[in-house]
Symmetry: C2
Subunit: 318 residues, 2 copies
Amino acid sequence: MSESVFIGVDVGATKILVGAVTEAGSILSSRRFKMEHETQAATLQSIHRSLESFMRDWEGAAPQSIGIGLVGQIDPETGTWLEAMNLPIKSPVPLAGPIRDQYGIPVMLDNDVHAATLAEQRWGIGMQSKDFIYLNIGTGVSAGMVFGGQLVRGAHNYAGELGHMVVKPDSFLCPCGRRGCLEPLVSGGGLLARVQNELVNYPNSRLHFLQDSLTSHQIFTAADTGDPFAEKITEDAVGALSIALTNLVNLLNPEWIVYGGGTLSDGWLIEHVREYVKGMPLTMIRQSLKGIIPSKLNPEYVGLLGAACLALHAGDVR
Amino acid sequence: MSESVFIGVDVGATKILVGAVTEAGSILSSRRFKMEHETQAATLQSIHRSLESFMRDWEGAAPQSIGIGLVGQIDPETGTWLEAMNLPIKSPVPLAGPIRDQYGIPVMLDNDVHAATLAEQRWGIGMQSKDFIYLNIGTGVSAGMVFGGQLVRGAHNYAGELGHMVVKPDSFLCPCGRRGCLEPLVSGGGLLARVQNELVNYPNSRLHFLQDSLTSHQIFTAADTGDPFAEKITEDAVGALSIALTNLVNLLNPEWIVYGGGTLSDGWLIEHVREYVKGMPLTMIRQSLKGIIPSKLNPEYVGLLGAACLALHAGDVR
């Protein structure tokens, strides 16, 4: 008897990754497609066409279900994509229904961080712990929270907006309307924006030479070489992340923090906050925290695995 | 057939309230005892004697189980009272076992905030919502979090330390070792400590006349009459609580915030943060928040109801 197969669709702002995944988390096949995102219609057509193309070429066992991980706000109960910041989804899209009708199998949507957290729960740290936080810092900041073996979704599936925890009330105005949110201080997007806005004040910074293709990793490296501007913005990032994670640990008493996302991938930021976050929570709470470790799931495929996990979870969601 | 009866023991720093409660949350009988707390032995003896006295006089149906709500750190799995700040529990006490052996029925321990949150879940807002936060501000600050209908306990049952969320990093040093924690800025204990420490700098403050029996309510009233010192510390409290609750709402996406505790009982603080907390979270998240409302459970008895709830939950806990 052949193994059950689940289709994952990982929808990002610039690409779509579609794959067939087994219950054990093996990726049997995957393909990357370009996301056309000029309009809402083009965005949706990209998703439908990518899935069609993959399904047409797929020659393995008939898939059990389809899971789709999306950026932005999702209602998993109704299978509706409500809105997205980085894609032109301006009115709610009932996405699961049409795809279910087309392929005749269950379809589950969720946001990319909840999806990745479910993958982490099923195939990562969740194999040994019921109480963990999946911290993702890339363009933005978010936290997937699993406690008592259950993903904390919130009343309308929006839980996890750690990026809008205010940690420095006298700092920048965030687009959300408050000052001193974590996200503009520590995310890849936030760090690059600071360089763009403030570099003019540091004529001798070596970041001038990197400006065209700047990455957060290069900012961290420049700080290590003593570049004063890079030192300033990375100190702010380290301070803000130290406070936010310690707040989170005190509030939720996790056993593990597992991290992923482009801004954390070189380990620099985590190494700079580790001592504070392990040392500063309340005594009993810091003794419960076993570690702050990188996700063992392949970062290239965690989105796809998360989407496949949604397919596996079809039926679980309220 | 008579109704099932559950015994609740609400252990505070200065009193012990023991009662018999039905599954519907009716208190059939309750008695208040004095807590002797000179030593660990005296503290434990007070608990045992109070329970014995109540059980001896109880003439109703045989109780199903006993629940005990305690201050401090508890391990509900082993029934151990690990430590307490306001009572002299210096070494871990295996409390559930001896009581179970004495009365021959299950005994469940937990901390008072988890217990009150379970009461809120069973007999309060939980009757209409699966996703809420129970905010308690009295001597200290804590938050009971119920999401997906499940109390968030954390890895070792310490979840809920909202009081040690840093919201103003340039503020006071908290006994926990960090600066700008919520608790010293907003709790009853924190407000009174600020008056004690800083009143000398405000020779004309009307708080001088109230100093012997000062309450947080009197500080709020003094602020309303324009007392500059009272205005200063209440502005700090309002600012800190506004940030902390909005952080919490963005992180967890609750449907309701229900509040209790002596410092919130006159409604003053909540009325001063309500507009910010309802207006400043991310759009979809603030639209999910239906309200910030006082607990409808009688504040005199919420601890007892919480303890009885532990008895009702005997068997649920991992």
